[in-house]
C-alpha cells in the first residue's frame, strides 16, 4: 500500500493542473471553446468524398466527461471484466434533445466527485497489480496485466515500468504517449517504488494517477487543419479514433484502431472505411448498440423505478431488470444480428425471455435467457408492447395512457410534449371515483378542463391503445369490471388494439427520421442544430435506401464528412417541434 503522503503529492500535482483546466473549460466556457484549446497541429491530405454526405457539413468539437457506462466499459476492455469499479461517475441529466450522452459536454464535477474518482482509481490500480489469492480463487492480475516481471519486487525497474506505462497508457489516453510523458510516469513509478519498497505498489500509484487524469476521464476532441477544406478544421486522427470508438463501442479504441490513428490511415476515406467495417463486425458493437438504445429509450429511469408491490406483486426488482435487458437484447438481435428493418422492431414478435420476466408475460420459460416468439394471436407485438416500455411509463400503482403517449412521442418521434401547467387539477384521474372505472373514463373527465385538453389530445389517443396492459405491463382485458376499449389514433391513423398502434407507429414517417436525428447527435456528442439539416437529410435518404438497416446508418454516420469535420460555428439547437392530434402523418416531424 502506498502512503497517504505519496498519493496526496501526486494527486495535487495532477488535479492542480490540467484537471481543473479541463473541468473549467467544459463547465464554463463551453465545449467548443475548450476543444480548440487542446487542438494539436497535425495535417494530412484527405480529399472529401461527395457521396459520403455533404462535404461542408460538420460537427462541433467537444470535451465530454466519460459516462458511467463508458468508464465501466473502458476498465473492462483494458483490464478485464473482473475488475471491480464501484460507481465513481454519477448519472447524467437528460438533455432537451432526449439524450443523456449529449449532456456529457456540459457537466460540472464537484469536489466530492473527485474523491470518488480517486477512490475508484486506487481500487482499480490495486486490483490490476494484485498478486491474487488461490484460497479465495482470486487471480494474480499482475501476472497477465503487467507485461513483464521486475528484476526485484522491492526495487524500481524502469524498463519494466516503462513497458506497462506505454501499453496501458496508450489505451487509457487513447493515443500514444510522447517520450516526455512516458519519462514523467516512469519517474513517478520509480519514486513511489523507492518510497514504498514495492515495485507493484509503485506501478499502482502511477496507474491511479493515470485513471484520474482529465485526459483519461474526458473525451476531448482535438482538431487540426483540414487539407480538403482550406481554412477549416477537422478532428485529428486520435480524436477520430475516439469518436468512432465511443460511438460504435461505447468504449476506448482498441489496438487496431489506435494503429490506424497512429499511421494516419483513419484520416483517409478508404482507411476510415476499413476501420469502420472492422468496428462494425466486432463483438464490441453490441455494447455500443445497447448503450445507444438504453440512452434513447430513457432506460436510465429503470435505476430508480419501483412498482407498488401490493398492486403488482409479480413486478419484482428482478423482473424490472430483466425487462430492460429484454428490450436491449431484442434491439441488438433484430437490428444487428438479423439486420432487419428498424421499423419492424415495433411489430416484431421475436424477443428473448427470462424466467423472471416470463411470470409477468404468463408464459413458460427455460433457465437463463432464451429466444422467444410471441404467437400470432398474442397482443404482444414490438418493443412498445414489452414490459419495459409499459412499466417504465406508468405510475407505481396504475397505468398511464398519458405517460405512455408522451414517451412514444418524445423518445420515438422526437416530438416535445409540453409539461402540465403548474395549477393543473389532477383530481379526476387520481381520486378513486367509483363511477370512473377505466383510465379512459378518468381521462375523459380530466379533459373536460380545456387547460388540460390541449396536451392530452396529443398523448392520450396513443396511450389508451396500450390500456390492455396494466402498470406492470401485464395483459388485461378489463379494468374495474369494465371491458377495456383500446381504440386510439396516432396522427390521423386509427386503431383499436395495441397491435394496431404498433403498426401505425411502424409506418409513421417520423419514426426513422427521429432515429437518424438521435443517432447522429449521439455520435457527434451534441444536440443537432439547424446547421445539421443537410447532413440529416442525407442520412435520412441513406437510411431509407438501405431498407432502414441500422448497421448501414451507423456506417453512413461514421463515414460521413460531417462526422470528422469541425463546424464553422456552434449553432442554436433545433427548435422543439410540437405535434397535434390533427396533424397528418409525418407533419409532426418535418
Amino acid at each position: 500500500m502506498q502512503s497517504v503522503e505519496t498519493r496526496r503529492t501526486r494527486s495535487s500535482r495532477v488535479f492542480g493542473g490540467a484537471f481543473w483546466m479541463g473541468v473549467t473549460c467544459a463547465f464554463v466556457l463551453g465545449a467548443a471553446g475548450c476543444a480548440h484549446d487542446v487542438t494539436e497541429q497535425r495535417s494530412a491530405d484527405v480529399p472529401a468524398v461527395a457521396d459520403l454526405g455533404p462535404v461542408d457539413a460538420g460537427s462541433v468539437p467537444r470535451v465530454r466527461f466519460m459516462t458511467a457506462q463508458q468508464y465501466s466499459n473502458v476498465i473492462a476492455d483494458v483490464f478485464g471484466s473482473d475488475i471491480q469499479i464501484g460507481t465513481p461517475i454519477p448519472p447524467l441529466m437528460r438533455a432537451p434533445d432526449g439524450l443523456l450522452s449529449t449532456t456529457a459536454g456540459s457537466v460540472g464535477i464537484p469536489g466530492g466527485q473527485l474523491m470518488q474518482l480517486q477512490r475508484a482509481a486506487a481500487s482499480i490500480a490495486a486490483q490490476v497489480v494484485d498478486k491474487g489469492d488461490i484460497g479465495k480463487e482470486l487471480p494474480a492480475h499482475r501476472s497477465y496485466l503487467v507485461p513483464c516481471k521486475p528484476k526485484a519486487e522491492n526495487a524500481a525497474d524502469d524498463a519494466c515500468a516503462e513497458k506497462f506505462i506505454r501499453s496501458t497508457g496508450r489505451l487509457l489516453f487513447r493515443r500514444s504517449l510522447d517520450e516526455a510523458q512516458v519519462a514523467g510516469w516512469v519517474g513517478e513509478a520509480r519514486a513511489a517504488t523507492e518510497h514504498l519498497k514495492d515495485f507493484y505498489a509503485g506501478l499502482a500509484s502511477v496507474l491511479e494517477g493515470m485513471l484520474i487524469d482529465p485526459m483519461v476521464l474526458m473525451v476531448a476532441d482535438t482538431t487540426e487543419p483540414d487539407p480538403a477544406r482550406p481554412g477549416q478544421r477537422r478532428l485529428d486522427a486520435y480524436s477520430m479514433a475516439s469518436r468512432l470508438s465511443f460511438f460504435l463501442w461505447n468504449s476506448v479504441p482498441n489496438d487496431a484502431v489506435l494503429k490506424a490513428a497512429e499511421s494516419g490511415e483513419i484520416q483517409t476515406p478508404a482507411g476510415r472505411a476499413r476501420v469502420v467495417e472492422m468496428m462494425l463486425s466486432s463483438p464490441r458493437l453490441e455494447n455500443g448498440i445497447r448503450a445507444f438504445f438504453d440512452d434513447m429509450l430513457a432506460y436510465d429511469k429503470f435505476d430508480s423505478l419501483a412498482k407498488d408491490g401490493m398492486v403488482y406483486s409479480r413486478e419484482s426488482g428482478a423482473v424490472l431488470k430483466d425487462a430492460r435487458e429484454q428490450t436491449l437484447r431484442t434491439a441488438y438481435d433484430h437490428l444487428v444480428v438479423r439486420n432487419r428493418d428498424y421499423r419492424d422492431l415495433f411489430t416484431t414478435r421475436d424477443t428473448f425471455m427470462s424466467p423472471a420476466l416470463a411470470s409477468v408475460y404468463n408464459v413458460p420459460a427455460v433457465p437463463g435467457w432464451a429466444p422467444y416468439s410471441f404467437p400470432e394471436d398474442s397482443p404482444r407485438q414490438g418493443i412498445l408492447n414489452q414490459v419495459s416500455f409499459l412499466a417504465l411509463h406508468s405510475h407505481p400503482g396504475r397505468s398511464s395512457p398519458t405517460l405512455r403517449g408522451k414517451a412514444l412521442r418524445e423518445t420515438l418521434l422526437c416530438s416535445v410534449v409540453p409539461p402540465p401547467p403548474p395549477n393543473v387539477d389532477f383530481s379526476a384521474v387520481e381520486d378513486p371515483d367509483a363511477n370512473l372505472h377505466t383510465a379512459r373514463e378518468r381521462l375523459t373527465a380530466h379533459r373536460s378542463n380545456p387547460v388540460c385538453a390541449g396536451c392530452h389530445k396529443i398523448t392520450d389517443p396513443i396511450g389508451l391503445a396500450m390500456e390492455n396492459f396494466d402498470g406492470a405491463g401485464q395483459y388485461r382485458t378489463s379494468e374495474g369490471g369494465v371491458t377495456i376499449d383500446a381504440s386510439g389514433s396516432l396522427d390521423g391513423k386509427e386503431f383499436n388494439t395495441p397491435q394496431g398502434l404498433a403498426h401505425a407507429l411502424r409506418d409513421h414517417p417520423g419514426l426513422p427520421t427521429c432515429l437518424v436525428r438521435r443517432m447522429y447527435g449521439y455520435g457527434v456528442g451534441g444536440a443537432t442544430t439547424t446547421l445539421d439539416k443537410p447532413q440529416l437529410d442525407f442520412l435520412n435518404q441513406r437510411f431509407a435506401a438501405s431498407g432502414y438497416r441500422v448497421p448501414d446508418l451507423l456506417r453512413a454516420i461514421a463515414l460521413s464528412p460531417a462526422f470528422g469535420n469541425v463546424a464553422e460555428r456552434p449553432a442554436a439547437p433545433l427548435p422543439a417541434i410540437k405535434t397535434t392530434s390533427l396533424a397528418a402523418p409525418g407533419a409532426a416531424v418535418e
Binding site: S316, A318, P355, A358, V363, P364, A365, S373, D377
Partner: protein, 357 residues
C-alpha cells in the same frame, strides 16, 4: 441441435397455451386441460387464535433441552454423563420412558380431514362445523411454541429453505381438467421441481407464473399419482396408500414425510392453490424429520426430542403394529402453492439423465 429444436417446439406449444390463458385474463386451461402449482409454504395444521391463553389454558410446553437438563442435572457433571447423555437420547428415545409432563392441546375445534369417514369421540369439529376431523397430531403440536405461527422455528426455516435452497420445490400437476370450478375426473401428479421459485415484489412471497422443470434425476422416487375431482373450485383427491410429500432439505437431511392414506384437499384458482395435505403420518418418519434439527433450534421452542417422541406415541391413533402399538398419527399440513408452468424433460434429456443416474 435437435435438443434445442425440441425445446423450442415445446416452448412454442406452451406459449400458445399461455396466450389462451392471457386472452381471457383468467389463466384459462381450456385448451391445455392442465395446470401446475409449486409449493411455497407448509404449516402443521391445527386450530390457532391470537389468544394463546385461550388456546392453551395450561400454557405452552415447557420442557425443552435446557429445562430438562437443568432439572436432571442441577449440579452439572461430566459432559458425557450429562449433556451428551441427554442429547444422544434423541437418537434412542425408547431407552427412557417419558420423564416430564407434556402439555397436550384440549381444543375441540380442529383443522384437517375426516380421514376414516367416521365421527368418533376423539375427533375434532372444523371451524365451519364439519364433524369427524381426524388430527391427533394437533393435540401434540398446538400448545408447543415450536409449531405455533408465526414464530414456530421448524416451519419458518423449512419454508425459508423452500425459497433459498436447491432441491426444495415440490410440484403438483393436475391434468384432465375441464375447469377449475368443476372437473369430475382429474389426475394429480406430485413431482420435484428443479428451478428456484420466483420471489414477488415484497421479496418474501412467491410470485405465480414461474416455470419448473420436473426433476427426473433425483426426483423420480417422489413421483406419485393421485386421482380426484374438482367441485366448486375445491380439488379433493382419493387417498393413496403410501405417500411422500417432501418439504425442505436442510443440513443435508431430506424431509420425506411418509404418510399413509395421503390425500389433498385444495381450493384452486388460476394463480394459487391453498388447502390441506392429510393422512396418517408415520410416527418414526415424523420423528426422523424432527431430530434433523439441532438442539439449539429445538431449545427455542422448548422441545425436548425424547420427550416429544413419547408424546407422539401417546397420541398415535392408527396402523397398529403386531404389539398393538399405534405407528401412525392422524394429521394434516396446510399447503400453500402458486401456479407454475411445469415442463417435462424431452426424450433426449431423459435418456441422458437415465444414463447418468
Amino acid at each position: 441441435m435437435r435438443h434445442v429444436t425440441n425445446k423450442l417446439a415445446a416452448l412454442a406449444v406452451t406459449s400458445l397455451m399461455a396466450s389462451v390463458a392471457l386472452a381471457d385474463g383468467s389463466g384459462s386451461i381450456a385448451d391445455t386441460r392442465t395446470i401446475g402449482y409449486v409449493t411455497t409454504d407448509l404449516h402443521w395444521a391445527f386450530h390457532q387464535t391470537q389468544d394463546v391463553d385461550k388456546d392453551c389454558p395450561e400454557g405452552l410446553a415447557g420442557y425443552g433441552p435446557r429445562e430438562t437438563f437443568k432439572e436432571l442435572y442441577p449440579n452439572g457433571g461430566p459432559v458425557e454423563k450429562t449433556q451428551l447423555a441427554r442429547e444422544s437420547l434423541k437418537f434412542f428415545p425408547t431407552d427412557k420412558p417419558m420423564q416430564f409432563p407434556y402439555i397436550f392441546s384440549k381444543e375441540r375445534i380442529g383443522v384437517g380431514v375426516n380421514l376414516d369417514g367416521k365421527v368418533g369421540p376423539n375427533d375434532f369439529v372444523s371451524a365451519t362445523g364439519e364433524q369427524g376431523i381426524d388430527n391427533a397430531l394437533q393435540k401434540v403440536l398446538a400448545c408447543n411454541a415450536q409449531f405455533r405461527r408465526p414464530e414456530g422455528q421448524l416451519q419458518l426455516f423449512g419454508n425459508k429453505f423452500v425459497r433459498t435452497s436447491t432441491w426444495n420445490r415440490t410440484l403438483i400437476e393436475i391434468t384432465n381438467v375441464d375447469s377449475l370450478t368443476r372437473s369430475d375426473n382429474v389426475a394429480v401428479t406430485i413431482y420435484r421441481g428443479r428451478d428456484p421459485v420466483l420471489l414477488d415484489a415484497t421479496g418474501e412471497g412467491v410470485a405465480p407464473g414461474g416455470t419448473q422443470r420436473v426433476d427426473m434425476r433425483w426426483g423420480k422416487p417422489i413421483i406419485q399419482h393421485l386421482k380426484g375431482k374438482i367441485v366448486d373450485g375445491v380439488l379433493t383427491t382419493e387417498p393413496i396408500k403410501a405417500g411422500i410429500y417432501p418439504w425442505a432439505i436442510y443440513n443435508d437431511v431430506p424431509t420425506l414425510l411418509n404418510w399413509r392414506d395421503m390425500r389433498l384437499k385444495l381450493t384452486l384458482t388460476p394463480e394459487r392453490a391453498n388447502g390441506l395435505i392429510a393422512g396418517y403420518m408415520d410416527v418414526e418418519s415424523y420423528y426422523t424429520w424432527l431430530i434433523a434439527w439441532s438442539t439449539h433450534h429445538l431449545s427455542y421452542g422448548r422441545l425436548d426430542p425424547a420427550e416429544f417422541y413419547w408424546a407422539l406415541r401417546k397420541m398415535a391413533d392408527a396402523y397398529p403394529n403386531e404389539k398393538g402399538e399405534m405407528t401412525a398419527i392422524s394429521s394434516a399440513l396446510t399447503l400453500d402453492m402458486v401456479q407454475a408452468f411445469i415442463t417435462h424433460p424431452d426424450a433426449d434429456e431423459q435418456k441422458l439423465s437415465d444414463a447418468k443416474h
